[in-house]
Subunit: 378 residues, 2 copies
Amino acid sequence: MGDKGNPSPRLGEKLAVPKRILLGPGPSQVDPQVLEAMACPLVGHLDPFFLQLMDEIQESLRYVFQTRNPLTLPVSGTGTAAMETAVVNMVEPGDRILVCVNGYFGSRIAQMAVRHGGDVRTLERRWGEVFTPEEIQEAVQAFSPKVVAIVQAETSTGALQPIEDIPPIVHAAGGILIVDAVTSLGGVPVRVDEWDLDVCYSGTQKCLGCPPGLGPITFGPRAEQVLRQRKVPVSSFYFDVSLLPKYWGEERLYHHTAPITANYALREGLRIVVEEGLENRWRRHRRNAERLWDGLEALGLQCHVEKPNRLPTLTTVVVPPGVDELQVRRRLLEEYAIEIAGGLGELKGKVWRIGLMGYSSSEENVDLLLEALKKLLK
Amino acid sequence: MGDKGNPSPRLGEKLAVPKRILLGPGPSQVDPQVLEAMACPLVGHLDPFFLQLMDEIQESLRYVFQTRNPLTLPVSGTGTAAMETAVVNMVEPGDRILVCVNGYFGSRIAQMAVRHGGDVRTLERRWGEVFTPEEIQEAVQAFSPKVVAIVQAETSTGALQPIEDIPPIVHAAGGILIVDAVTSLGGVPVRVDEWDLDVCYSGTQKCLGCPPGLGPITFGPRAEQVLRQRKVPVSSFYFDVSLLPKYWGEERLYHHTAPITANYALREGLRIVVEEGLENRWRRHRRNAERLWDGLEALGLQCHVEKPNRLPTLTTVVVPPGVDELQVRRRLLEEYAIEIAGGLGELKGKVWRIGLMGYSSSEENVDLLLEALKKLLK
C-alpha cells in the first residue's frame, strides 16, 4: 500500500532562487514591497478583509485603465487568459471579427476567435509596422465586423499602435473594439474612456510590476450590451464575465476561489502605481527607453521598429550579422544575471527583445545592460 | 491630459493582512515556508532555473497523484480552471458524458459539459450521499457515455465517494473516467495508476497547503488517446492541453507566461508533502478529522454525512435548531479569528462546513475551534 511504485522525488533542498535583472518581455522585476505582500498569510476568499481588497483593486484598476467602467476586474489567469476572456465573451459562433495582425499576439487573437467559431478575417502588416486608420476603415467597410481586435503594444515586434483614431471608425460601422494592452498598461498611455475603447485587457507581470497570474480587463457599455444580447452562453464557465460580477459585485456569490496572494500583490503593485502617478510612470518608461535607444545607437546597434512607432516598454534590436544571438543572451544571463529575450515567430533569430517595464524600467538597469552588451559585442 | 477625470484612488496604506485560522473549504492556511518562497524574486519563465523547477513540480505532482503519467502539470488557474481543462479536452460537441451529481461541484461539471456542447446525462443522489458501483454500472449501460465524471471529495457536502470500483465499469464500456480530487489530493488517498483513473485534477489551496492559483491535473494513456483522436480542436486556447506539453516538455515553446511565484509556492508545498510522506499526511488528516468529529459529538452536534462516507478533509455539521448560523460564523471570525463556511446550494443555511486541510489540519486548530464553538453555542 501507500506510495509503493511511486518513490518520493528528491526535492530535499529548500527553494534557492537566483537573482536576475529581468529585461525580457515579461515577467519584469517585482518591487520588493509587492513580494513582501505576497508573503502575507492567507485569508478566505469571502473574508470581509478580502472583499474590501477586491474593491480597492477594482477602484485602482479603473484608475490605471482610465475608465469608469463598472465591469473592471482581474481575470484569475495570465494575460493570455484575459485575451481569451475578451474573445470568448464578445464573439459568438458565426460572428464576424476583424483581427489586425502585425505580430505574434494579433495572430493569437485570430486563432482564439477561430476556435470559438468566429467568422474571422485578418488585416495584415509586416511585423514591426503599424496600421493606418485608413486601411482599418477600408477593411471595416468591406467586412462589416461585429468585433474588431487590435494590439496596442505588440510584445513580439516592439511596435506601438496608435489607437485614438480607430474607435470612431469601428463604432460608426456598429462594431465594438477590443484592444490588447498587455505590454502597455501602466507603461504608456491607455485611456479607455477618452478613447472610447469597448474591451481592454492586460497582464500583471509587465508594466504593473507584479508577478504573472492575473489578467486585468475592462468592459465598456457597448461591450456590456453585447454580453446582454448573446444568443448562446459563453462556452467557458471560467471566463464567462456574466458570472464574475456576482462575485466581484454586491452578491459576493462564489464562482471560483480567487488567487488570494496574487491579489495581495496586485493591490500592492497598484498602490505603487497610484503613488507614482500614471503620468510620471509613463514619463519614466519613455525616458528610460530613450536612454536605451541612444545607448544602442552608440554601440552601432539598430532597432527593428522606426522611432515614431517604437514601444517604450519593449524594444526589438536587430542582431548584427555574424553574431550568435543565443550565445549573447546566454552570456548575459550567466555572467551578468541579465535576462533579455530572443525573437518570436518570424523574428526568431533576427532580433533581441529588451523590456523596460514597471520596476525594471530604471536608468541603472539600462546602463548595466548597455555596459554588458558593449563588452559582449566587442 | 494625464489622469484627468479619473482621480487616483485613496490606497495610501500598505497592505496589512489580518491573521486568520482558516478552517473553511479553502483556501486553507499556508505553511510559512511556502509563503516565504512566494516572496522570492522573479526569474523569467524560460530561465534555466525555472525550467528545472517545472521538472521538479511535475515529478512531485506525479508522486502526489501516485502516477507515472507524463502529462501531469499545474494548469495556470484555480481548481475550477483545472475542472474546465478536464471537461473541454475530453468532451467534443455531441459527445455523451455521464456526470454523477450529489453536490455543487458535480453539478458544475455538468454545466461545463453542456456549455461545451456535450450530450450530458446526470446520475443524481441527495447531497451528502455517495454512489454505488451498481447504479453507475446501470447508468453506463443505459447511456454508453464516452466520458464519466465523478467527484471524489464533494466540498459542498463533505461526502467521500469510494472510487476504486468505478474505473473497471467505465472502461469495460469503452469510456474514460474524470475524477475531481480538489478537496482530496494530498489529504486522503488518491491513487491514479493503481485505480486506473484517466483524468484527475485538483487545486493547490486545499490539502496541498499552497495559495490558490494553480490546478494540478494528470491525463493517463486513454485520455491521451482521446486527445489525439479529437475531430475538432479544443475551443479554449488557454486550456488546450495539446499545447501545454510544448512548454512543459522538451521544446519549451512559449504558450503563456507561467505564474512564476505561484509555481515557487507549489514547488515548496510539494517539497513539504514529500518530506512528510503521503501516507503520514493521509493519517494526519484522518486523525485530526476524528478528533473533530468526536469533539462535535461531545458538544451535541451532528454531522450531515454518515460516518463511513465522511470526508476527513471537510466536515459538514448540521446547524442546530434555533441557532443563527451566520451569527456564529461572524463571531468565530471576529472574536476568535477562525474562518469556517456556511452551506452551499441546497445546504445553504442548514450546515456549517469545516475544513481541516494541509497546514490547517492540526490538533491545535481542532481544539481552538471546538473551544470556541462550545462558548458560542452554550
